[in-house]
C-alpha cells in the first residue's frame, strides 16, 4: 500500500481538514502521511491533480463535476469521497452599495435578509444599467459554489445574471483590491478574504451564503477516479483522519491552536485573528463595528457534513446546465451524480463512532426544523437545510426542477 498521499490546496480556511489531519498526527495514527502542496489558482490545483503531481485536491465542488463532464478541458472522471465543508462564504459589497441595499445591516452588526437585500439591490441594478455600467460581482471561479449560490440568489430576486449584472472571476487574494479599485461592486468569496476586505474598509459583509442555502455544499476532496481505485485503502484512512480533524476543528477548545496552525506561512500565510473569527462562526461585518456570531457560517463536521450526498452533486449539475448550457442531458446528469461517492465514505467509516446516513440522496431544502433521519450506523438529526426562497430540490426530477427555475 502506498502510504503517502499528496494533497493540493488553495490557502483558504476550508482547506483546514487535511492540514489539521496532518498537523495533529491523525493521519499518522491511521498509518498514512499527508504531503500538502499549496497553489494560488484552482487551475493549477486541478492541473497538478490531472498530471499526477498530487493524489487528491481541495477543490471547489462544481469544478470536480465540470472536469468529469469535460467542460473547459478534456474530460477526466473525478471522484469525491468526502466533502470538506458546507458554506463558509459571504457576499461583501462596496460600502456605499452595502449601505444602500442593507441600511440597517453591517454597521449595526446585522447580516441582511436575502430577500430584502435582493429587492433593494434591484433598484441599484436598474440604475447602473441605465448608466450603461452594470453592477459587477466577483466570484472565485466559474465552476464554484460561490458562483452558483450568488446566481441562485440574484435570479430568485428577479435579477438576471449576465444580463442585468456582470459576474466575473477574481482570485480570492485580490478580492479586496478589486473592491477598492472599483473593478467590482461586490464579491462572493470564502474566508479570510471577506474579513480582509472589511478590515481594509474596502467592503462590508452583507450576506453569508449559508443564508441562501442553509446547508450548501462547498469544497470537496477530489481524486482522479483511477487513483481512487488504486489507492482506496489509503484514501479510506485519509477520510477517517479528516473526520477526526473535523471533530477537533469544531471544538471551541481548539480554535486558538487551529487558527495558529492555519495561519502559518506554509498554509494560509494569513492573520490568525481573522482565521479564528471564521472558524468560530463570528464575523466583523463593517470596519469599526462589532464582531457578531452567525452560527454555522462554516459547517465542517456536524450532521455528517462531510457525507457526499449524491443529491448535492445533482443540484450542482442543474446549476451548471442553468448557467452554462447546453441543456439538460440525462447521461451527463448520471455522470455528474457518480462523481460523489458515498460508498467510499461509508466503507471508510463503518465500525467507527461516526453516524452514517441510510440514504445516499435526499430532497434538498425540505427541512425547516430538526428532523431525525434513518441511519445505517449511529443516530443523526438534521437541522434546517432551506433555500432562502423555500424552493425544494427533488433529485428524482432534475428536469422538472430546471423547468420550474426557468419559469421563475
Amino acid at each position: 500500500m502506498d502510504t503517502e498521499l499528496v494533497v493540493g490546496f488553495l490557502p483558504l480556511v476550508d482547506a483546514c481538514l487535511p492540514i489539521l489531519a496532518r498537523e495533529h498526527g491523525f493521519a499518522e495514527d491511521e498509518g498514512i502521511s499527508i504531503r500538502l502542496v499549496r497553489d494560488v489558482s484552482w487551475a493549477t490545483v486541478l492541473d497538478r491533480l490531472l498530471y499526477g503531481h498530487s493524489d487528491a485536491a481541495h477543490l471547489v465542488a462544481p469544478l470536480a463535476i465540470a472536469t468529469t463532464l469535460g467542460r473547459g478541458r478534456p474530460a477526466q472522471p473525478l471522484s469525491v469521497p468526502f466533502v470538506l465543508g458546507l458554506n463558509g462564504n459571504a457576499i461583501t459589497m462596496r460600502p456605499d452599495l452595502a449601505d444602500r441595499v442593507c441600511p440597517h445591516g453591517p454597521l449595526e452588526g446585522r447580516l441582511g435578509d436575502p430577500a430584502a437585500v435582493g429587492a433593494a439591490l434591484r433598484g441599484a441594478v436598474d440604475e447602473a444599467l441605465a448608466r450603461g455600467r452594470p453592477l459587477r460581482f466577483g466570484v472565485v471561479h466559474r465552476y464554484s459554489s460561490h458562483n452558483y449560490m450568488l446566481r441562485y440568489w440574484l435570479a430568485a430576486c428577479g435579477i438576471r445574471p449576465d444580463r442585468d449584472v456582470e459576474i466575473t472571476t477574481v482570485p480570492p487574494p485580490f478580492c479586496a483590491d478589486a473592491l477598492e479599485a472599483g473593478e467590482v461592486d461586490a464579491i462572493c468569496v470564502g474566508e479570510p478574504w471577506n474579513s480582509v476586505a472589511v478590515e481594509r474598509g474596502a467592503g462590508r459583509i452583507v450576506l453569508a451564503t449559508a443564508q441562501i442555502w442553509r446547508r450548501g455544499v462547498e469544497k470537496v476532496l477530489a481524486l482522479r477516479e483511477p487513483v481512487m481505485v488504486k489507492k482506496r485503502e489509503s484514501v479510506q484512512r485519509l477520510i477517517r483522519a479528516m473526520c477526526r480533524a473535523g471533530r477537533h476543528f469544531v471544538d471551541p477548545a481548539n480554535w486558538e491552536v487551529n487558527a495558529a496552525i492555519l495561519a502559518r506561512p506554509e498554509y494560509l500565510d494569513g492573520d490568525a485573528v481573522l482565521i479564528r473569527r471564521a472558524i468560530s462562526d463570528r464575523l466583523l461585518l463593517a470596519r469599526g463595528g462589532e464582531v457578531v456570531p452567525y452560527p454555522d457560517f462554516m459547517f465542517q463536521y456536524r450532521e455528517a457534513a462531510n457525507f457526499p450526498w449524491v443529491s448535492q452533486a445533482e443540484w450542482l449539475y442543474t446549476q451548471m446546465v442553468r448557467w452554462d448550457g447546453p441543456g439538460f442531458d440525462p447521461a451527463d446528469a448520471a455522470r455528474a451524480a457518480r462523481v460523489f461517492r458515498p460508498d467510499v465514505y461509508r466503507s471508510a467509516l463503518v465500525g467507527t463512532g461516526e453516524p452514517l446516513p441510510g440514504a445516499s440522496s435526499k430532497v434538498e431544502g425540505s427541512l425547516s426544523q430538526k428532523t431525525s433521519v434513518g441511519t445505517q450506523q449511529g443516530t443523526m438529526t438534521l437541522e434546517s437545510n432551506r433555500f432562502f426562497d423555500e424552493r425544494v430540490f427533488d433529485p428524482a426530477d432534475l428536469a422538472g426542477y430546471l423547468a420550474a427555475l426557468d419559469r421563475g
Binding site: 497553489d39 466559474r142 482570485p171
Partner: protein
C-alpha cells in the same frame, strides 16, 4: 503565430521570450501586469498563451477563454489530449499552455518543448543564483567570525582562520558552521546597544 507570455516575473518572461525568438514567423508579446490582463490578451489576440503555473490569474484567464468560446469568438483553448506527453512535460516544468483551435499539433509540440527547456533553464539559473548567494553569505559570516576572534582574543588574521579550521576539523563540521556559531554566540553575549 502570435504568442503571449504571461508571467509576473519579468526576468523569467524575458528568458522564455529569448528562447522563443528563434522560432520562425512568431510574434511574441510579454504581459507581466496583472491589472487589465484580459483586455490586453484580447488586444493581442494570441494563437498561443503561455502562463506560469504559479500565476494567480490563471482562473481569470480560463474564464475569459470559456466566455469567448460561448460567444463563438474562440480566443484560445486547452491543448487537447492528442499531445498529452508535451503537456505533462510543460506542467512538470511549471508552465501551462493555451492554444487557439486548429493549430497544427507539430507546431504546438515544437513550441512547448522550447518553452519547457527555457522554463527549466530559468529554474536552474535561479538555483545557481541561490547557491551563489548562499556561498557569498557564508563567506561574509566567516569574515565576521574572523574579526570577532581577532578583536576578542587579539589574534592575527591567519591565526584566527586557522583556529576556526582546526575547530571544524576536530568536530567534523564545516568552517561556515563554526563561523555561524561564533557570530551567534557573539550576538548573544554582546551587551545591548547603548550600554557600551
Amino acid at each position: 503565430m502570435r504568442i503571449a507570455i504571461v508571467d509576473e516575473s519579468a526576468a523569467r518572461a524575458s528568458v522564455i521570450q529569448e528562447g522563443l525568438a528563434t522560432l520562425e514567423d512568431c510574434e511574441i508579446f510579454v504581459v507581466t501586469e496583472r491589472r487589465g490582463l484580459v483586455a490586453r490578451i484580447g488586444e493581442i489576440a494570441p494563437d498561443v498563451v503561455l502562463m506560469d503555473l504559479g500565476n494567480p490569474s490563471r482562473d481569470v484567464l480560463e474564464e475569459y477563454f470559456a466566455v469567448s468560446r460561448a460567444l463563438a469568438r474562440p480566443i484560445a483553448m486547452f491543448v487537447d489530449e492528442s499531445d498529452d506527453e508535451s503537456i505533462a512535460a510543460s506542467i512538470d516544468a511549471g508552465v501551462s499552455a493555451y492554444v487557439v483551435d486548429g493549430l497544427a499539433a507539430s507546431r504546438i509540440r515544437g513550441l512547448l518543448d522550447l518553452a519547457v527547456r527555457r522554463f527549466n533553464a530559468f529554474a536552474r539559473l535561479q538555483s545557481d543564483l541561490a547557491e551563489a548567494r548562499g556561498q557569498l553569505a557564508e563567506r561574509e559570516t566567516i569574515d565576521k567570525a574572523k574579526r570577532i576572534l581577532m578583536d576578542s582574543r587579539g589574534l592575527p588574521e591567519p591565526k584566527a582562520y586557522a583556529e576556526m579550521r582546526s575547530a571544524a576539523m576536530s568536530q567534523g563540521r564545516r568552517i561556515a558552521d563554526i563561523a555561524e556559531a561564533i557570530v551567534t554566540a557573539h550576538k548573544l553575549m554582546a551587551r545591548p546597544t547603548g550600554e557600551k
